[in-house]
Symmetry: C2
Subunit: 114 residues, 2 copies
C-alpha cells in the first residue's frame, strides 16, 4: 500500500473526524437511542441510561440540540415541563448506530467471549 | 412509541456502548485510517494525523493493540525499529468507518454548509 501523505490521509479522515466530533464521547448515541425509544423527560432519559450524572446529561442534551439531532420543547402548563424529541435529521444516524451495534455485538463475542 | 423501560433501553444500548468504548475519543479511528493508508512508523502516523500529541498517540496505539485492532512489531535490526499494522480483525470496522464518513460528509453540507 503506497505511503499516504498527510493530505491523502486527512481527506479520508476529515469526514470521519466531523462525525466523531458530533457523536464523540460515551453518551450521545446512547441518549439518542433512549429518546427514540420513547423517553422524553430528563428524569426518564437519565433513568433509562443508568450511570450518567445529571450535569453531564444536561450538557450532552445541549450539544445534541446544537447539532440539530434533538428538539427541546417547553410546555407552558402548570407545572411547566420540558420534553426532548429526536429530529428527522437524527434518523440519518440510523446506519451508523446499526453498524456500531452489530460491531459491538460481534466484539463482545470476539474479545470478551460472552 | 411505547415507553421503553430501563431494561429494553440498555439491551439496545449495550452493544453500541461496547463499540463506543473501543473506538471512543477523537483519535482511534483516525489512527486506524492512517495505518491502513500505509503509515506504519510512529512518526509517520503522527505526521499524517497532524494535531496529535505524542503521549496521546502512544496511549491510543496501546489501546488499539489491546483491542486486537493493530499489531506492534519490533524489528531487531540496527537501529531497532517498531512498526504498526492493522490486524484482520480491524477490517471488521470497515462498515462503521464507511457509515461515519458518509454521515460526516453529509453533516458538513447540512450543518456547516461547506
Amino acid at each position: 500500500m503506497s505511503k499516504a501523505n498527510h493530505t491523502d490521509c486527512s481527506s479520508a479522515m476529515l469526514p470521519v473526524r466531523d462525525a466523531l466530533d458530533v457523536i464523540s464521547g460515551k453518551w450521545k448515541l446512547i441518549i439518542l437511542i433512549s429518546i427514540s425509544s420513547g423517553n422524553h423527560r430528563f428524569r426518564e432519559i437519565e433513568r433509562s441510561i443508568g450511570k450518567i450524572n445529571s450535569k453531564v446529561l444536561a450538557k450532552e442534551l445541549k450539544d445534541l440540540e446544537e447539532h440539530k439531532l434533538i428538539k427541546r420543547t417547553v410546555y407552558d402548563e402548570s407545572p411547566v415541563f420540558v420534553e426532548y424529541t429526536t429530529t428527522p435529521y437524527a434518523t440519518t444516524l440510523g446506519k451508523v448506530i446499526k453498524e456500531l451495534r452489530d460491531w459491538g455485538l460481534n466484539h463482545r463475542k470476539e474479545i470478551i467471549g460472552k
